[in-house]
Symmetry: C2
Subunit: 147 residues, 2 copies
DNA sequence: CTACGAATTCAAGTCAACTTGAGGTCAATC
DNA sequence: GATTGACCTCAAGTTGACTTGAATTCGTAG
């Protein structure tokens, strides 16, 4: 079984080595061995990291992600919990679809204030219904790494 | 024009008053008047907050959201920037759809480790392609308020 | 065998988005 | 006109997810 050096994982995924160490520390990924001091990973780690990326996109915490896709690809959570998580994602997709419509509208509509535009209003009524039951704490997202 | 007391906004939206004050402070929403010391808002604020909720769901920072839907419903960003943001959301939706498939699979598939299941592998290959160009910093989401 | 570079540990720092707490203010009620 | 209770301000604290920096340890190339 060929192992991948942490530096290579970092290079292939674009994730800083410091982050990979951090993920290892919190048990989100697992290093398979050491070459001297250096962490080495099985190729699986690339899959795991893909799952992590998806989970983050969905707004799950790293802790949630750890439980959803356990360290070896088998989840820690019971099936019905997983179904609940899936439903959350499903709802998030609906919300984002509403947002997408709204955004596209805002980008194209020439009205001076959108709050007066009837088509915008309609979008908002849809969105508002969702929003009222969706007060979640989410902490800032930003650019794909500063540069 | 009837105004809404901050307490009522909080009650109707479920957003703590402290958060509303914070949003006011950073210019994400605008209080219309004061009743004594108390902030009062126009009903518009409920719409604004709905937009904020959508924006957060999409993973935008509060600063981004402020620029996307300016204080009065007219965006600060130029149209092409907005279109770019819309495209980001569009991509996020695609990513989440992949995640949803994966999650639903994980929830139902009886295989001991999913890393071996061919159908899971296929999902991951799809997801992985996205993930590799989507290394974003996003900070933890969690439960709808501790209680 | 020494030097180099890349990775290591560990503690501390950063950042966004809030929350908490102390002490103060007001409008309305008793 | 004193009390109440919801709101106020302002500074400081918290949390999750990392990053940074100093001092250290290896494996390999020269």
């Amino acid at each position: 079984m060929k192992l991948i050096d942490i530096g290579d994982v970092s290079a292939r995924t674009g994730i800083p080595a410091s982050t990979l160490r951090y993920y290892d520390e919190i048990g989100l990924i697992t290093s398979a061995a050491r070459h001297g001091l250096r962490r080495q990973f099985t190729p699986d780690v690339l899959v795991q990291l893909a799952l992590v990326a998806m989970g983050k996109t969905a707004g799950f915490s790293l802790e949630d992600i750890t439980r959803i896709f356990g360290r070896d690809g088998s989840p820690v959570l019971p099936r019905d919990e997983l179904r609940r998580k899936a439903d959350e994602v499903d709802q998030t997709i609906r919300d984002l679809t509403a947002l997408l419509d709204t955004l596209r509208h805002v980008a194209e509509c020439p009205a001076p204030s959108h709050l007066e535009c009837p088509s915008f209003q309609r979008l908002l009524r849809l969105a508002g219904r969702r929003a009222s039951r969706a007060h979640v704490r989410r902490r800032g997202a930003s650019k794909p790494v500063k540069g």
